[in-house]
């Protein structure tokens, strides 16, 4: 066998070195972290995931940490090739995971969470797309397609409708069912004239288009002003809701040739909230956002959400979070809740989210680059603002990384699984 030494040696070298490398050496291990309780019940944080990066050593790697530990959150090659995930699988709404599992055929290729609707009888997905005409002078076509799955029989049908128009793009904002009608609320964006909202109504039985409603959004009161429309639709993508809200903000017109920084922040003149009822097509102004414009100082912002009949506004600044909730069906205003950063000891509020009766807060406790500080997360009860949990990510395992690199992680975002 001495004769075959070169070949045998090369093959042994290959097996030994590649084998060892891929078995032990190729894993780019990062320290492991875990959410650790500072105070309260750890179970309150079970739906929360902090997103950030590990920057110790060379390079930077996205990681996520929750109560169960940490992992690298980038999409690895193996993941891309071997996993059976749909494109919406990693969305914060866990309902999609179940939908992929139960209706893989229907869910195939249906992107965009806003196009979904489901109740006990049907699962619907609507899409609105715009195709430019080949001739640039001609109008293009807006095409709606609605796929509906009868959950009892498994029968799948597709309705379509088309409209010739000249627009920039279209997208579905909300899909609802009211009686035997399917409503597809569509945003149509036109060059130089802002957005239009069209409610396309289809017959759920026949699939035929019944009519379309152009939702009136009002007009700017003066020529040098413009309207910004923010649509507040049901927060859970597939859930039913009889209404959609839209917040109309009138502001000074942004000119294209703005130079100075002060010009880029438009002056806000008014902010009005409207409600559109799918079933009746009625638009009604709600007297709810008085005083919102004065809160819109730099460094603070307001988030709006609609969950069933509850409309929630969350005003956020570094120092405090204030939450107002209204029951739109009764007109009842829940007591206002305010949580101050000072209540939580240290840090400033960088993010907050409302979900399932809880307020989730992310506080940054210092400049990362100065002192490698870990953030604090807090969970509070939405009804009275009581703090139920406070915690912070902490390294639990070095995984071969030197001690001084263990805290080289920064967490700037959080997601709540719903």
């Amino acid at each position: 066998m001495k004769r075959y030494m070169i070949t045998s040696a090369l093959i042994l070298l290959i097996l030994a070195s590649l084998g060892t490398f891929y078995a032990y050496g190729a894993e780019l291990r990062l320290p492991e972290y875990k959410l650790q309780t500072l105070e309260g019940d750890l179970a309150e944080a079970s739906k929360l995931t902090l997103l950030g990066s590990y920057v110790g050593g060379k390079g930077s790697y996205p990681i996520e940490v929750s109560t169960s530990g940490s992992k690298r959150s980038e999409q690895t090659f193996s993941n891309q090739w071997m996993k059976n995930k749909g494109p919406l699988h990693d969305q914060t709404f866990s309902e999609f995971k179940a939908l992929y599992k139960e209706h893989p055929g229907f869910m195939r290729g249906k992107m965009g969470t806003d196009g979904y609707y489901s109740d006990q009888d049907t699962l619907i997905f609507a899409k609105a797309s715009y195709t430019h005409s080949k001739d640039t002078d001609q109008e293009g076509t807006i095409r709606w397609s609605i796929d509906s799955l009868d959950l009892a029989t498994g029968k799948q049908v597709r309705y379509t409708d088309e409209l010739t128009d000249s627009v920039q793009y279209t997208n579905v904002i909300d899909v609802q069912k009211a009686g035997s009608e399917i409503h597809v609320l569509t945003n149509v964006n036109r060059v130089n004239s802002g957005n239009e909202l069209i409610d396309m109504v289809f017959n759920a039985e026949t699939g035929l288009p019944i009519h379309s409603v152009q939702v009136p959004l009002g007009k700017p009161s003066r020529n040098d002003r413009e309207l910004q429309i923010q649509i507040i639709a049901e927060k859970k993508p597939t859930a039913a809701n009889s209404r959609v809200l839209f917040l109309v903000t009138e502001s000074s017109k942004r000119t294209d040739n703005t130079v100075s920084a002060s010009d880029t922040i438009p002056t806000i003149f008014s902010e009005r909230l409207f409600e559109y009822q799918y079933a009746s097509g009625d638009v009604k102004e709600l007297p709810l956002v008085a005083g919102a414009e004065e809160e819109n100082r730099p460094g603070s912002w307001t988030l709006h959400s609609l969950e069933r009949a509850t409309y929630t506004t969350m005003h956020l600044s570094e120092e405090a979070v204030t939450i107002n909730r209204y029951d739109l069906s009764t007109g009842f205003a829940h007591p206002q809740v305010t949580i101050k950063a000072s209540q939580l000891g240290k840090g400033t509020i960088s993010q907050a989210q409302v979900a399932d009766g809880r307020i989730y807060l992310l506080l940054q406790t210092g400049d990362y680059f100065k002192n490698n500080s870990m953030p604090i997360i807090a969970v509070a009860d939405i009804t009275d603002g009581r703090i139920l949990y406070q915690g912070t990510p902490a390294p639990v395992k070095a995984n071969g990384r030197p001690d001084d690199q263990l805290d080289d992680a920064q967490f700037l975002n959080m997601t709540i699984m719903q």
């Binding site: 070298l13 590649l18 490398f21 050496g25 190729a26 090659f77 195939r108 030197p402």
Partner: protein, 270 residues
């Protein structure tokens, strides 16, 4: 030992000096670069320490490898070019030269596909041997780095970090993901077979064979490339796309080997 393995050894043996030269070149360039860069770094740190400046962060082996992107890539690129040319030369060298070894090779009492497979295997041995040698070199270079840099300037790093800090390693040569390694080198193996079959088309049909060979490579290249860039995420689930790709590769592989074996045993002219 069976004749296929003997043929593999024969082919490896015939290329041994070229392979060792490539290894030597790789070692020489990389070690020279590493020693030089490390020396400059250590000198800089010493200077800073002498002036009482506080450096924010020590440096690791991975940092130095990261500094040597280009220099480390050079021997690798040379090796790729040499091995790439040898994919053709491993056949043509048997036709040219005084010995015209093809006469002997194709009258050996063994099925001809063994000759084909042995030449392919030899190429794979060379490629993987070079990759393995690079891994060994990295171990050696890390040891060298640890000797050269006083521990007060040195930051520890994982082996994988050093691999990840060179783009040529992490993107192509030694991806840290095992599946990625299998896929990349699987496609590479497929490409070698396609080129082999193209060479055999030329060797079987000469002038018109060149046209067939070019067309064949173009079709297979389009199929393999198409499978890589297959963008069907809007419709298929990831594992389905993987299955589709795998089927395409398998079809190209099956067709290429069938055609290659047929050419080498029935159509080739010495």
């Amino acid at each position: 030992m069976n004749r296929y393995l003997k043929l593999v050894h024969l082919e490896v043996h015939r290329f041994r000096y070229a392979l060792f030269s490539l290894m030597f070149l790789t070692a020489a360039i990389q070690i020279t670069g590493l020693v030089h860069t490390t020396q400059v770094r250590v000198k800089g740190w010493r200077e800073a320490a002498r002036l009482g400046e506080h450096s924010t962060r020590n440096f690791s082996f991975a940092d130095v490898i990261g500094d040597l992107q280009f220099l480390f890539a050079i021997p690798i690129l040379i090796s790729i070019v040499v091995l790439g040319l040898y994919v053709f030369l491993i056949w043509y060298r048997d036709w040219i030269g005084r010995d015209k070894f093809a006469y002997r090779l194709f009258t050996l009492p063994t099925v001809r596909r063994n000759v084909y497979m042995a030449k392919a295997t030899a190429i794979f041995v060379f490629v993987f041997a070079m990759v393995s040698f690079q891994l060994l070199m990295l171990l050696l270079e890390r040891q060298l780095f640890n000797w050269m840099v006083p521990s007060e300037y040195r930051m520890s790093s994982l082996f994988a970090e050093a691999v990840a800090s060179n783009l040529v390693f992490v993107r192509f040569l030694l991806p840290l993901d095992g599946i990625q390694f299998v896929v990349y080198y699987g496609i590479g193996i497929l490409a070698v077979f396609v080129l082999f079959t193209a060479v055999l088309l030329e060797r079987s049909y000469r002038l018109p064979g060149i046209v067939y060979a070019i067309l064949y490579v173009a079709v297979c290249g389009a199929a393999i490339g198409g499978a890589v860039y297959l963008n069907l995420y809007n419709y298929f689930y990831p594992r389905e796309i993987t299955a589709i790709r795998f089927c395409i590769y398998l079809m190209v592989m099956g067709f290429t080997l069938t055609l290659g074996f047929r050419l080498v045993s029935k159509k080739i002219t010495v």
